[in-house]
């Protein structure tokens, strides 16, 4: 590496990059990035599922507000949603809320709105004959959804889910803006302290983000194969 790229700065701060001040202080760095991503991912999976189903129910009293909400959130930059949560949540709840939680709320809200459209498309992509077969045996609509449509639809949704979650992993870097010490925030801290190695530091965190996203993509491909059933004619 010599004079041009000196990765010693990475080795010297490796533990700080990975877990921040943990266990002597709060979790930070890559650990916090993963935490934010995993929690937001799980919450927005269910959020997207619920919003997606509600956005196609027949009853307009339920459907219209849900669709309005989805379109509003989809029409805003994520950064703005994070700011909103950061300032709104403590005001609404009347007490201080940890920054990381406001970020999770923002990411969840935003990703759920996008996920809902994947869910909607996945449900609508299942042939009508499947629903008709279900209701003609006497199953109620929610049973048809639960046992027939969703199991088939969710499998078709996996690739789109993965796209969304890979975006989510990268979007956790926006937590930087409200001072949550995830990977990007930690990187800028180290950069400010050491001054001389911005190239090395940002090549390194780019690489870490890449590995994280790639691992997740591979995991989902494995999941897809496992859930595969032979397609009907």
């Amino acid at each position: 590496m010599g004079e041009f790229l000196n990765f010693q700065v990475i080795a010297d701060n490796f533990v700080y990059f990975m877990i921040g001040r943990f266990p002597h202080g709060p979790l930070g760095g890559l650990g916090l990035t993963i935490y934010l991503a995993v929690v937001s991912c799980i919450l927005s999976f269910f959020g997207g599922l619920i919003l997606g189903i509600l956005s196609i129910v027949k009853n307009p009293v339920i459907r219209y507000p849900v669709v309005l909400f989805i379109n509003t959130v989809r029409g805003m930059p994520l950064l703005m949603v994070i700011f909103w949560m950061y300032f709104l949540m403590p005001a609404l709840m009347g007490k201080t809320v940890p920054e990381s939680r406001t970020v999770i709320a923002g990411l969840t809200l935003f990703t759920s709105a996008y996920m809902s459209q994947i869910v909607r498309a996945g449900i609508e992509g299942i042939p009508k004959g499947q629903t008709e077969a279900g209701i003609s045996t006497g199953l109620k609509h929610w049973q048809v959804m639960l046992y027939i449509v969703l199991p088939q639809g969710l499998r078709n949704m996996i690739p789109s889910f993965v796209n969304q979650f890979v975006s989510l992993i990268k979007d956790t870097s926006l937590a930087f803006i409200v001072g949550v010490s995830e990977l990007t925030h930690v990187a800028t801290q180290i950069n400010n302290r050491t001054m001389a190695y911005p190239t090395e530091i940002f090549i390194f965190i780019a690489f870490v983000y890449f590995v994280l996203c790639y691992a997740f993509t591979s995991l989902s491909r494995w999941l897809e194969r496992r859930l595969a059933w032979r397609k009907a004619i």
Partner: protein, 244 residues
């Protein structure tokens, strides 16, 4: 068992069912035939309200379908429906396809439902396929599983919507044999089909439709020998000797 009285249905401007009056008694096998677009599929789909009617009265198994108090899910559980495209659930095994509704709706224990499903699979000649997935079966086998799935709810009425139209010619016989067996067991059946051999041999009555109207209702022998209506004559001529 099924009684249509002055039933009308429109798809926007299209009058798909025009003053339908039809009665199907318990144990009767009625074949509905007619050219495509004549409304015969719509007719059969109104019986379990896959298609709602717009006007008139339709009473099925003593329940009035236009009465908002009628529990439509309960009624559907009493009516088996077999589709042209089979519509088996591709993500479930043959066994699960059959046991899903009895377990979820009738509350049958899984073990008991499985035993009943095996008996039904034996009846349609597919007991050895209970572990297979729909895509591993031929069209004829899929349709026989679909019939077993409908029978698993122990329905009082079985409806067939062109059950052999999507099948290769060599598979039609195996499905018709199952249907014939079912007819002989006393099941009330309404069958939309172009299989005139089945109609002649198995049905008690043939209903001929065109443009949403029932043009003719007759005993099979009479229908084939002396169709009264010109449209029916033409239809039969085309169906029985398509080369002319």
């Amino acid at each position: 068992m099924i009684r249509f009285t002055g039933v009308h249905k429109w798809f926007k401007d299209l009058h798909v069912l025009n003053d339908i009056n039809l009665h199907v008694a318990k144990g009767e096998v009625v074949v509905v035939c007619g050219p495509s677009g004549s409304g015969k599929s719509t007719l059969i789909r109104t019986v379990n309200q896959l298609e709602p009617i717009n006007q008139g009265q339709l009473v099925v198994d003593g329940m009035d379908l236009s009465d908002p108090k009628t529990d439509i899910n309960k009624l559907r559980a009493e009516i088996g429906f077999v589709f042209q495209q089979f519509n088996l659930y591709p993500h479930l095994s043959v066994m699960k396809n059959i046991t899903l509704a009895p377990v979820k709706i009738r509350g049958t224990a899984q073990k008991e439902a499985t035993e009943q499903a095996m008996a039904l699979l034996e009846r349609v000649g597919l007991a050895h396929k209970h572990d297979a997935y729909p895509s591993q079966l031929s069209g004829g086998q899929q349709q026989r599983v679909a019939i077993a799935r409908a029978l698993a709810m122990r329905p009082k009425i079985m409806l067939f919507d062109e059950p052999t139209s999507a099948l290769d010619p060599e598979m039609i016989g195996e499905v018709l044999a199952v249907m014939k067996d079912l007819a002989q067991s006393g099941m009330t059946m309404v069958v939309v089909t172009h299989e005139m051999g089945f109609a002649r041999e198995v049905s008690h009555r043939i209903t001929f439709m065109d443009h949403g109207v029932i043009l003719e209702e007759a005993q099979p022998e009479e229908f084939f020998k002396n169709p009264r209506h010109d449209r029916a004559k033409q239809f039969l001529k085309q169906l029985l000797s398509p080369m002319h």
